[in-house]
Symmetry: C4
Subunit: 274 residues, 4 copies
């Protein structure tokens, strides 16, 4: 086995001991680097531990850069990897740190590094989950007419009651414009209820009460349908997987080491073997 | 086919390519015009883009006026259309702009244009949904005794706990009157919790805690029943529709091009043919 | 039929036209009188419409007094009626107005009149519902061990996290005592979230986040069980009732005209006939 | 029967009349002592009833100390009891009062006494429940892949939207750092909505609205799965228990009087009998 194949196995394969260890280490590295980014955004910690955080940040950036280059090197289809969803996420999670060398006041740019978090889904094998999600999306597509109607109803309720509140409470109150009133209606209908904007006139309070009681029932329907489908498909998938999983699972790919079925694997070996 | 019939087909029919295109364009026009109304209500944008918004508003108003007149012209029963629910909505969505020419300080009147949003339900074929809703309303009517009792229980809980909080917290607090306290109780029982009014005395906080924990369970029942019935009927309807939908669906009507069954269609053709 | 029997029929019977009309009128009278009490509690309205509200209040009080006396007169068991739950509620809803003649500063006493609202349950036949509720309470009693454990878990979670927040946030914050912190924990775990008390220290915010995410799942269980049982029993009851209801329902009683089964009715007639 | 065995029966056994009485008394003692701790944390009450509360506290502490010593004495395996979960809780609930004699400013230490509340689970036989919980945890373990993915999704949503809000609203707003913004995102996604931090910019309000509507559906899935499993297992367990419960239940143990099956009991008697 060539070095390249060995690297490929460690990075992309998840069933071998080396691949498993790599996944666990990667998870920790991602988690820690996100914590570093988070702490770096706290004024207090930036002033006190600024240098430590900067060193750690560069440590993780270089680590992820090396990983990115190794992925490019070992992938049988580097271009496809680079253009894939996770390829872009991988790049996004290292680029801001390098850009901060050239751009002054790059503080906001640096926050983008939080997107690194998306990478945990690669390790959590979200890809496989997304694959199964097809059955979910099929189920949802079947009932899309009704979901559309309900979401339409939620939107109409929210916009119309927002507009009414704008008239009732008047432009001097918190309901100073329709978009703001719609924001209030969404905050209310989802029962979040910040209280940054709240009705003060008796009529406004009456309308809010109606919105709370009725809207509650309306918004429950689409979210109910979606989450019922989500959990149903996640359970049925579970049962299916349990039986056959440990022998026929995919080798390579997530996400773009290509090769998934044994036949494909042979082909690749063939291509390489020459 | 006469011009009138051709117009009728484009506006009321939804299965032909022209009818489909018309529906999509109408949806976009409605969405954009509601966005214009919304932006117009923001002080900042009105000052900056006032003229642009006014021009756009008149553009959409004339567009919808033309559509309204064509509907009146092409409908086999113009009077019935004008008096139908969507006929009134269609009129409401163009009238305020014309009235603003004669009435000074018509700002609040203009917000009514948001009712245009109701028109999307015509395109989303809510009518058909409302038709199926009969089965839902039958199901709900069967359990109306219990729903009435539960809604009665929610109201009684809300009013009595509101009155108690008015006594406990005293008229100097936020709970200055029973209606306001009832508003607070609704905000609490639906778990919205703005916090504009909140108990400050220990006894008031104790009663609130009881209301939160118990009321939570009480309000869940009617909304649960309603939304369970809603989603159940929406799914059963889906299955029914899937089989026969693409061949026997309604021609014309939504909403009031009349004619729905083939037999009716023939009659109309007959009437016209003479 | 004697006058007394006739009155009995109108007031206690619900199947005859006269009894039905009486029920509807009573519902309206209760609703209107509660609205009068509510409006009377609003400072503004009391100052402006004070005399009108007072007159209306005395009108309803005398009306309910007459009804109360007629109930006492026509009931076959006046003492039992007077001591029954609804008998006490009936008395409570008229007494405060009379007491206000003797007691100065009786404002808070007057709010008790809101308890009139409980009387609507008599008309809504809550009694029958409560009868059926036996099956519910049996079902709940069967799972009472687990419900007790879960409610215990909710209480323990709420008290322990309240105490922890009291330590973490310190007595100078909103979390000034354990009872207040427990109130905060209940506001949080039920997702009401007033925001009158909210964590300010990083550690407090971390603990709150854990409480929100975990507690959410814990409190859902007992309320879920209770409301599932409630709606299940309310539906099963519906089916049972539909078949036999219109011929064998109760005559008299709600609530305490006694007599429910035909056998009992005969006995009463016997007693009276003598 | 020796005194030691008699004590063992009263404290650990729950089926005998004496054991049952002991359990009820213990429940009351725990509840009252927690109320005393709670009231003691209220500045006002501490100043007014300080001596009474102190006396009551010492009364309960000595009571629980005696109980603890009796448990140690009568348990067939004192060391195992002392190291068991409830053994540690028992110790934690008496230690702080004694430590307060030696340590000045022990106020915060005293709050730990609230942990006494954990002891009610012993009486509520949570142990048995926890035993059954194995079947629950097995069920959850089977679907752990999906739950992990969903919890990962919730975390990623919360952290990424928190970071975005930090950029959008800027560091001068309430969203002053990523951890604080993440706290806000959790408060929002669980629909608690304190309102201590809330978006003020239009873009921020738009993103919040999306988070509220979508996030609502996402967080419902893991909590839904967990609580569905919880209540399902709690009901199935109920049925199982009902049949055989009153004859074959455990003797001793909860929690660490050892002995659970008749066979084990004989062994212990044997050991003692010698």
């Amino acid at each position: 086995m060539s070095i390249r194949e060995r690297i490929h196995e460690v990075i992309f394969e998840t069933e071998t001991p080396a691949g498993r260890l790599f996944d666990v280490l990667l998870l920790w590295a991602i988690a820690l680097s996100v914590i570093v980014v988070s702490l770096d955004s706290v004024q207090e910690y930036r002033l006190r531990f600024g240098t430590v955080l900067k060193v750690l940040e560069w440590f993780f950036t270089i680590l992820f850069t090396v990983e990115y280059l190794l992925r490019l090197y070992s992938s049988p289809a580097p271009a496809r990897y680079a253009k894939s969803f996770f390829g872009v996420v991988d790049l996004c999670s290292i680029l801001p740190t390098y850009l901060s060398l050239f751009i002054l006041n790059s503080q906001y740019l640096l926050v983008i590094r939080v997107l690194r978090l998306m990478r945990i889904f690669r390790v959590l094998k979200l890809v496989r989950f997304l694959g199964e999600a097809n059955s979910l999306s099929l189920a949802l597509r079947a009932s899309r007419h009704k979901i559309t109607v309900f979401i339409g109803a939620v939107f109409a309720t929210v916009i119309i009651s927002g507009a009414l509140m704008h008239i009732i409470e008047g432009p001097e109150s918190g309901f100073s414009s329709i978009p703001k009133s719609v924001y209030w209606a969404i905050v209310t209908i989802t029962t979040v209820g910040y209280g940054d904007i709240s009705p003060t006139t008796p009529l406004g309070q009456l309308l809010s009460s109606v919105l709370m009681i009725c809207g509650y029932g309306i918004i429950a329907v689409p979210t109910g349908i979606v989450s019922a489908e989500l959990s149903r498909s996640s359970f049925s998938e579970k049962k299916e997987t349990e039986g056959a999983d440990h022998c026929s699972t995919y080798h390579f790919c997530p996400n773009c080491g290509v090769a998934l079925k044994n036949r494909e694997k042979e082909e690749i070996t063939d291509r390489r073997g020459r």
